[in-house]
Symmetry: D2
Subunit: 468 residues, 4 copies
């Protein structure tokens, strides 16, 4: 800590202090730092370890920091440089309550507080991300509902493979988001562990009442090993990984749309807010948000790599390397949240043009596998023989859809797209949509509960009259 | 598919076929490929779509492939080159059952089968990894039990910070493994989704009886959107991420041991099988397994990067890029499993030397935070004032432990390590151990159930007399 | 070293030995390990430190290992397990020359030899890679020459932006390979540094004659600091980075081709050996080699991440982590070499269809920027005004190319593609091709020289009658 | 471009515009954007394509933007939102010169200008980084000179392996920086390529006089293929890789110092500005800058991963993904520059304590390999026999240094550290230092020339009276 440097003969130098300082970046943490400190001094006050007057003074100041999202602290900081927001906060309390502020250091260390603050900040972000993901899922389901019967090309190897209906397409991405949602949700299990009382690494000497931690910070009162509590960032690695996984699926949705746009320009209309044009080529309609979204996916992959590469080589116990990890972590969460919002807006605005799509699809024998199966079942012949037969006709005819008319005629198939529609994945589409809707409603209810509990703790923390 | 290349005018070339082939690597998948095919033809046979005789012939051959872990298939393959194990398996069935083998292609495609096979192979590996993780946790708890009261340095910033007892140390890593265990466990939720019936991308035309999938392959019978089923690898990304997270914690344990070894060589004795010496410096005792373990952690981080970098840029639908992903994925699982075994063996064999450790620890005021808190509570003075007082004495005396005797004497502390032992994290250590043991037992029971169910399905698959 | 383990009380265990052993993987290094040892014992023999008879016996054995690319050593090894190829080689020499083989350990350690062997192995691979890159460049230039005047779409934002001729397209990728070639070439500067004589970390006691190193191994005789020589892998990191850079450009070429294929299927014909079809959709023509190539690019990115994540956290001096790095490194070089061969083969075989391409291009106002500039110069009006005018017409007309006829007519442009052809980048295409050809010839000559020198050293090493 | 969005029916939305905008981040590019535009309009004016009055107005404004490092532009921007600095600059010129500013769009596009601007910005940063690297090298050489004869432990496997003198240690890192310097220097070869005139992707219609580019921007006048010029970021990938390589070596130096500090606390004294203490453990002296440095190394590895993962999957032609790449790129360069400054400051301030180090080293037989070699030469016995003999004595005696007295006595070695000093790497240390100094002087001279040329161009650009 900068403030105590002189005590050990350490000195100051601008270049160095800028290098190791995180104050500027810590704005995202200030509110939660104050919240943890608030719960902490309340516990000390209850235990009679802080006199009433300085306690009330500190309490008032901290409540304001929480309420203003850190602003009141940062306006106090002004131009001064601190090592981090925790040092600043401690000195602010001295300013507010005099030497008795020095009593607040009982039963805690910066390390266990940092670990708690990060969990709170992450939880708040994760709840937002979960909500945004629900928004994306909702938009996808709505798109499925409003595009029933619209035929789309389904690709493999970036080549038209089969055709199917739009709901099947949108539900695929809904399932991806639903599965990713569960992975992100699981992170809350780690984010509710309480490191408070773990001291610097092996435990504080004074244990504060864990029930306060539970009621005011929504953290689990059960003790966890202190070296783990302060020395591990598994919760952060896990959360980042889960969010990155979600981002890769969003990126793939962006790639899908870019591919569709270049393949069937007449089949898709991007929302007008999501395109940009060229400064010299006025015919261009560039899908810029999709490009940024996939680039941000690569960005968070890099962020995760940074986290993992830092983490894997650190012996246990807090190191300042963790401070750099926070930056990557918060950047990942921010990028994800913003991207989710943008992609949701995109999905809500994108329009499929049924005619253009069907016209395109009819140029390909995207029904080939269905028709072969259909004929195999009807005729009782091994599927592979029919495959060879159709392959031969298609190839000699150049691969276009029209060329297989002999095959279709021979087996009595008048419109092969009709066969496609009898495919179980198409016939069962309503059930699939319903299942997705049911799952979404369940997840919405669950998130609402989680959010409510989170806010209730916040109210407990700020609202009550304190320890007395 | 190589076999059908001529049908579309494609040609063969050695260089190219080696480049795109995965047969050699697929050995890890052969058994599961046969299992999925076995369930598939049974469903077809039940539906009357394969005659009895060829069915029995194929069934017998596939059961043997499963039973021999793929060996019977690979001995049939011999020197021949195939695109992958799926193509080889299909041709093997022709060899076994004649043209009727061509009926097995009904209701499936390589894409949905690959996606199912990968899940089964991953599940088998994940269950092993979960078991190895339990082994590591067990070894850590045993180490905690057999080293009660042994004093250890606890670090921050790779500097001695506090001291505490060995159980607290081992439980920290046990908690890390327990938390990582849960993350890995969660992957099973994705691994039981069934992609069967999803065809190439938009669904097969024939739906086979989903109850067979449930009973014989332990996959969930509920349908998932086919484009997701065949076109997503979220399950693989998630599983890899969770395993990589576990590996980073193992790597940090390795760094801990290397740090301890260089800092307190008299305090730790590595298991003799885990050290190596130099070919020219006979005094060396190199912690080679720890080095390999942390390097393998970096290796799997690289593997995860490869997965994410491949995945994020692929539009939906199967692409051959997925085949390369499999290699990275299986390598990650293998490296993790091996490393878990080695680290478990290390933990079981490592010995802490209480005397050497205490001698070392007594050279540092590792009790400083405890004593300051203790005195603050006793005297009612603000902690920060006492902090400054002790800091002043330590610094003027050069930082050694002996130099603070004035401070200790002034506040009546005769042996500061006695204060340390009154720290809640030390007093509550038995409860912490018990909690870890309880959790371990619960997880062991859960894993046993999961394994039992997995094996039961296998028995259903191989054991029964089939479709009739 | 396994062989000396008992001397320090270390013990053996299968699991562990497999974990730390690299023998299986070292096959790629065996030849070079023997080469370095050969030079080493020659220097010792010249200095009179090995008697004639055992020297000749070892020399003969080592020459055979070099000549057979390691095979003679591996057939001696058989089923036995060694820590690595260096230990195996040492014991082989005992087998061949008796206790006097123990004299070969003078003036060296495994660490400096490993560092030299890796450089030699890397150099051989790098020379091959440089050659393959020249092959790709040659193929690209030939494609430019044989496709003069063929109109192609040029993209930005994966949208048709401008149009131009095929030579301009191929030369862009040739320039990328030429620039990447220089980056890879630069690695040879590091690969010729000699770590021999650096001992384990701080230097060997006996210095062998550096001129032998120069003449027989083509390494620079100048001493480099021994801790760097044995403890750094900068040469490996640099080489890997440069090769990965080249791979990303190859991957982008693959993405180009995949994009072209889906956008203008009538404009490009893939070489028949490079496509595959589906097992159930006979109309598919999957660009499988391109997919594998881009996936391998992601693979080597992961490999580089593994290298960097391992490396950044190692204090100086050899660690066994380096052994794991070798695997990633050699995999990167292998994947790159194979991919270069495949992409070269692709370029040689791919066909552009001028008619299909021009038909496609004419559907877009890909000439817009050229025509606007042309008109701005002719009329003296600010470019932006004309831009707005054309944009207005295009947009109200729906963005197609035909709709701008009013604009074209108003400014007297009959065929806008004629304007495109007057663009300096098109008019100067012959000069650009010539420049690329000249550069290629220069690089071919340079590589030939480097290869010659490399082989000359090999001849010196194996050919001469030795030390006497 | 935002400004032209309405022309194609695109619309605006805050969320989206924030998402795709880079204006805030572009501050690092503003100066260079103005410089490129300055050269461009001068060329247009010379060709008579811009009238004198608006030309002078624009010229004046642009010179001010260059001179103020972008400030004058940003104060004009104020609260307004633009897509990026290029759009802002264009509109600023309208404000300054009226509709004639629309003439400046001739012969250019945003894509070729961005590619040029990035090169200029990167070159400026790279020159600074090269200078900082020279500073680190100088500090290392000075440390070598001022610590002659100071004995240090040299590690392998993070275990004391050999001992040697401090100059050998510092020169190892100097060599690392010298080799990395060459890798970074090589990037200038790519940074001087001129993309100007390449238009959006396939070339501009008007070619401006390339000699201006050469004289005013120090870019190479030779044309490069336009699709490469605008569509490749090889120069950025290469530069980032080289800088990351340098950072990994700096990180390893940090690890060295941390290892030394924990192993031989009495042997090293960190500069007082580089340590911090704990808020509750006043005895702590945390090496915080070293921790941040190694974490930043992991950070830039993540940045490089982000670059590569973005890049490898983009088909050719500019995409907005490139804009995200710029952020990662500039962050890498900034982090590297800052870290170099801090590490240089560290090296200058760190103190080795000869007595503490020698006392430590004498507890280990760090001379074992030297003494064995020495005895082998003296007695003519195979080295391996002596190795076994010493190993036996050391092991039975417990591995300490004192225990080998029988061996030393038997072979007449009174002080083994004297043998160490006769090691060639120690005897030749002066020559090694001299070589490093010579190389440094050469590189300083080279950099000075490069810097001079860079500044001369800047003077040409701003100083002259322009086109007339």
């Amino acid at each position: 800590m900068k403030r105590y440097k002189h005590l050990i003969g350490a000195e100051s130098k601008d270049l160095i202090e800028r290098y190791v300082s995180s104050t500027e970046f810590d704005t995202a943490l200030a509110k939660h730092a104050a919240a943890v400190m608030l719960a902490h001094i309340e516990a000390l006050a209850r235990a009679g370890l802080i006199p009433r007057e300085p306690y009330e003074a500190m309490r008032k100041a901290l409540k304001e920091v929480v309420a203003t999202g850190g602003e009141s602290l940062y306006s106090w900081i002004g131009d001064r440089e601190f090592e981090d927001v925790f040092e600043a906060l401690e000195l602010y309390l001295y300013d507010v309550a005099g030497p008795d502020a020095g009593r607040a250091a009982l039963g805690r260390s910066r390390n266990d507080h940092v670990a708690a603050v990060l969990r709170l900040a992450a939880r708040e972000r994760v709840l937002s991300i979960l909500e945004q993901m629900l928004g994306v899922r909702k938009a996808l389901i709505e798109k499925a509902l409003s595009n029933k019967g619209v035929i789309l090309p389904f690709f493999t190897h970036t080549q038209v493979a089969q055709c199917g209906t739009a709901p099947n397409y949108f539900l695929a991405h809904e399932q991806a988001m639903a599965d990713a949602w569960r992975a992100v949700l699981h992170s809350l299990e780690y984010l509710r562990q309480s490191p408070l009382g773990s001291g610097a690494s092996a435990g504080a000497y004074l244990r504060i009442d864990p029930s306060i931690v539970e009621q005011k910070l929504c953290l689990d009162p059960d003790p966890i090993p202190p070296y783990y509590a302060t020395g591990s960032r598994l919760f952060l690695i896990y959360t980042a990984s889960a969010v990155v996984t979600a981002m890769t699926e969003l990126s793939r949705f962006a790639e899908d749309m870019i591919t569709l746009l270049i393949t069937v320009p007449e089949g898709v209309e991007l929302p007008p807010t999501h395109i940009s044009t060229s400064s010299i080529m006025p015919h261009k309609r560039n899908p810029v948000t999709l490009e940024v979204a996939r680039a941000k996916a690569a960005g968070v992959i890099g962020g995760l790599t940074a986290l993992l590469a830092t983490y894997k080589s650190l012996p246990y116990g807090y190191s300042l390397d963790f401070q750099e990890m926070n930056k990557h972590f918060l950047r990942i969460l921010e990028d994800a949240e913003e991207t989710l919002q943008v992609i949701r807006d995109f999905i809500e605005g994108v329009r499929l043009m049924a005619e253009g799509l069907e016209g395109f699809v009819r140029r390909f024998p995207c029904w080939s596998s269905d028709v072969i199966e259909h004929v195999a079942i009807e005729t009782g012949r091994p599927l592979r023989e029919l495959y060879a037969e159709l392959a031969h006709e298609l190839h000699s005819g150049g691969g276009g859809a029209g060329q297989a008319s002999d095959f279709l005629h021979k087996y009595g198939v008048s419109d092969p797209l009709e066969v496609v529609k009898r495919r179980p994945s198409e016939k069962g589409i309503d059930e699939l949509i319903e299942r997705a809707e049911r799952r979404l409603r369940g997840d919405e209810a669950l998130l609402k509960t989680l959010r409510y509990r989170h806010e209730e703790c916040m109210r407990n923390l700020i609202g009550e009259e304190g320890a007395g």
